[in-house]
Amino acid sequence: MDGAVAGDDTWTVAGRTFRSRLIVGTGRYKDLEETAAAIEASGAEIVTVAVRRVNLSDPKAPMLQDYVDPKKITYLPNTAGCFTAREAVRTLRLAREAGGWNLVKLEVLGPAPLLYPDMPGTFEAAKELIADGFEVMVYCADDPLAAVRLQEMGCVAIMPLGAPIGSGLGLQNPAMLTMIKENVTVPFVVDAGIGTASDAAIAMELGCDAVLLNSAIAHAKDPVVMAKAMKHAVQAGRLAHLAGRMPRRMGADPSSPLAGLIR
């Protein structure tokens, strides 16, 4: 697998084609300068963003758009913090008006401390959003039936968690992710749970189309260096997937020939 092949390796979601398979969040950074530097280092072409009330007492405060140009980087508005379908739909309608695009990340969450995907709420919101013309990338449980149902409803990407949001536990469910992926034809993205570069590489080795993460970069001691590590890990994992790993065997199989040994 040479560089030329890797260079042609793109993925497409809802008709938009991307080269980078790393989607990064823009939350929890020290400041907007660090956010911009980390995104740059990650090579990400899509970033997730949240929708919140403007601070009316400080209208001239710097905004994310001043540091991360939505003309160059695709903003993927999320519904983080939404615990009901109604809140999520309302939030994304506002996002569409603020940004003017339909591609969104839906997440309807259950209560802390797990913030586990609330699947009944997720189905309800996905149905309403799709009917309203949104292209929905959906955060979901690692549930093979839910994944297929969301795809049949018209979601444009299925994004199960690898571990709870912000936990950094790494993929706790690689076998289940692999089995879910078998029945998903739209882009399949691991969203949440990545802790370090090797976790991202494993997700890509499993055959995921992309990885979505935030805290693993933002909460690293040096976020910009970790962003770079994630970029390379995703590329390495993708190449390993394309290359096809060797079979596992229970026992040794020497690499050096046994013939010609001195006696």
Binding site: T26, R53, N78, A80
Partner: protein, 74 residues
């Protein structure tokens, strides 16, 4: 005579002087708040106000508005 309108803005009650010629519009409010219209979205009584209608959408006392923008998130 300018009239005073009292609005609930992002959950807080605020009063504004409307212009002499008629009701305060969404556009007029955003100008008073010094907000960049290209970077925010507005919901009036839980209905989105499209940017193209900011100028023609009048506000009355008792209206509730949410004014939002994009911030960092995961």
């Amino acid at each position: 005579m300018p009239s005073t309108v009292t609005l609930t803005l992002n959950g807080e009650s605020r009063s504004f002087e409307g212009p002499a010629g008629g009701p305060l519009s969404v556009q007029g409010l955003l100008v008073l708040l010094e907000l960049d219209m290209r970077k925010v979205a507005v919901e009036l009584n839980e209905e989105i106000v499209p940017r193209s209608r900011y100028a023609e959408t009048g506000l009355a006392s008792g209206d509730s508005l949410e004014i939002v923008h994009f911030i960092g998130g995961g």
